[in-house]
Amino acid sequence: MKILVPVKRVIDYNVKVRVKADGSGVDLANVKMSMNPFDEIAIEEAVRLKEAGIATEVIAVSCGVAACQETLRTAMAIGADRGILVETDVDLQPLAVAKLIKALCDKEQPQVVICGKQAIDDDANQTGQMLAALQNWPQATFASKVVIADGKATVTREIDGGLETLQISLPAVVTTDLRLNEPRYATLPNIMKAKKKPLDTVKPADLGIDVTPRLTTLKVVEPPKRSAGIKVADVADLVNKLKNEAKVI
């Protein structure tokens, strides 16, 4: 059984984001880029399924600029067997990415696609669900536990009220939540090994997919700043302020 895992190159989660002065977007020049943390969890889960003898091959896919190769090498250092880069300079939106991955699924025929539930740049939380829709596959989003057996996946999901468990037929799309696993650190020998693993590059046109953006970003601004208030001396002072100044208790 093949597992396909899409991985996105995003601004590192520790970097403080700066909005460009001209309002055209966020400043990405000379900023540390990393794999989207939810995608790292997705790769880890796929590699664990391979180590458990359930999956036979883990394919990492990234869609975007040439530098996404680094993201794919990271995925292969964690344990993916090979990588596919769908290379384009177009600003890709979730629907376009879902269509590209669908085209690759038609070719590779994976039984499970594991996606991160959202990317920490656009915070869209869409691609996995869109891919499932385009494939007419079932979906199990926000997974905190995945068990695959007998041609079915049993997935525990983190929902607003608590947890729920779904049983879905395969092939299917699973999207990862934070507590699915803790991704391993790639070791130096594995990073070296990853450099020799196969990495294919295709273009959206090779897959017959139109990736023209559907949404136009008119402007990007900084949110209104919340200024720091005051330090209170003690509990009595705090309660007094909450009662008489803020009037919230």
Binding site: P94, F142, T165
Partner: protein, 310 residues
């Protein structure tokens, strides 16, 4: 222009998020329909009919809508989508699971977690954990949108909209709910609470979390929340998490206890009206957004606070 709002409900009653989503629809303007799909869901449908601004409630009542899976609800919406200019769902785990699936089949973009409506095709949404606000314009014929509930005040219940039955779509049978463990609590729902007491790693253990924060929450009639660190450490279940990837909250009063204030946490609570931070580290980033900061040992301060608010 006719807008379809997909109601979130548990067959008995609407989730509060539905009321905020209808409010966003009213801001866009036009006729508002609410879809209630469930099993034995007539009480929820009747509640939807009371929401101000709604003209029609469409009800699909069938056994296979009991657990409201994305697969079955998408099939239902697709069979009834024609004529709508916008399809809205709350940006809750329910809406986020469903809306992209509908958008993809309509071959349109989905616009996630809008916090503002500029016009019928232009919306404001936070990106980068709320560190930037993007204004986006959609060229698609149907706009599929999820609504950040804290950005829109709930509509009133002063209406008597008409209720129409619609035919259920065929059961896709792709997904079966086998178990649902909802956290039972007498306290207000985190997303709708006026006061939230939230705890972080500084509490040290789940036992301390409950021992210290529950009496305070009880005194204030508050909901309980947590930082990711506290959830990851197993102090409390996942549904307590406030932040970029957890719940987005905006209560009147947010009391952060032993939370350092990572940007991912701030993303989930910085729209709160008044923020109180209690932390022993005077340099903790949480103090940069707090209206009232108290530097001190939470193990001493919190019990004092319980005594003082009584």
């Amino acid at each position: 222009m006719t807008i379809l709002v997909i109601a979130e409900h548990d067959n008995q009653s609407l989730k509060a998020a539905t009321l905020n989503t209808v409010a966003a629809a009213a801001k866009i303007g036009g006729d508002i329909h609410v879809l209630v799909a469930g099993s034995g869901c007539s009480a929820a449908a009747q509640e939807a009919a009371t929401l101000t601004g709604v003209s029609t409630v469409k009800v699909a009542d069938a056994a296979h809508y009991q657990s409201q899976t994305a697969e079955n609800l998408t099939a239902l919406v697709m069979a009834n989508a024609s004529g709508y200019s916008h399809i809205l769902a709350p940006a809750t785990t329910f809406g986020k699971n469903l809306a992209p699936r509908i958008a993809a089949l309509l071959d349109v973009a989905q616009i996630s977690e809008i916090t503002g409506v500029e016009s019928a095709d232009t919306f404001v949404r936070p990106i980068y954990a709320g560190n930037a606000l993007a204004t986006v314009q959609s060229a698609d014929k149907i706009k599929v949108i999820t609504v950040r509930t804290t950005a829109f005040d709930a509509v009133n219940r002063e209406n008597a909209a008409k209720i129409e039955s619609i035919n259920p779509a065929a059961d896709t049978a792709q997904s079966t709910l086998t178990n649902r463990e909802l956290t039972k609590s007498e306290r207000p729902e985190l997303g709708a609470a006026k006061i939230i007491v939230s705890g972080g790693r500084g509490l040290g253990s789940g036992e301390n979390y409950h021992k210290l924060l529950e009496p305070l929450a009880d005194k204030l009639g508050a909901a309980l929340g947590a930082s990711r660190a506290a959830v990851d450490a197993g102090f409390v279940p996942n549904d307590y998490q406030v932040g970029q990837t957890g719940k987005i909250v905006a209560p009147q009063l947010y009391i952060a206890v032993g939370i350092s204030g990572a940007i991912q946490h701030l993303a989930g609570m910085k729209e709160s009206k008044v923020i109180v931070a209690i932390n022993k580290d005077p340099d903790a980033p949480i103090f940069q957004v707090a209206d009232y900061g108290l530097v001190g040992d939470l193990f001493e301060v919190v019990p004092q606070l319980v005594g003082a608010v009584g």
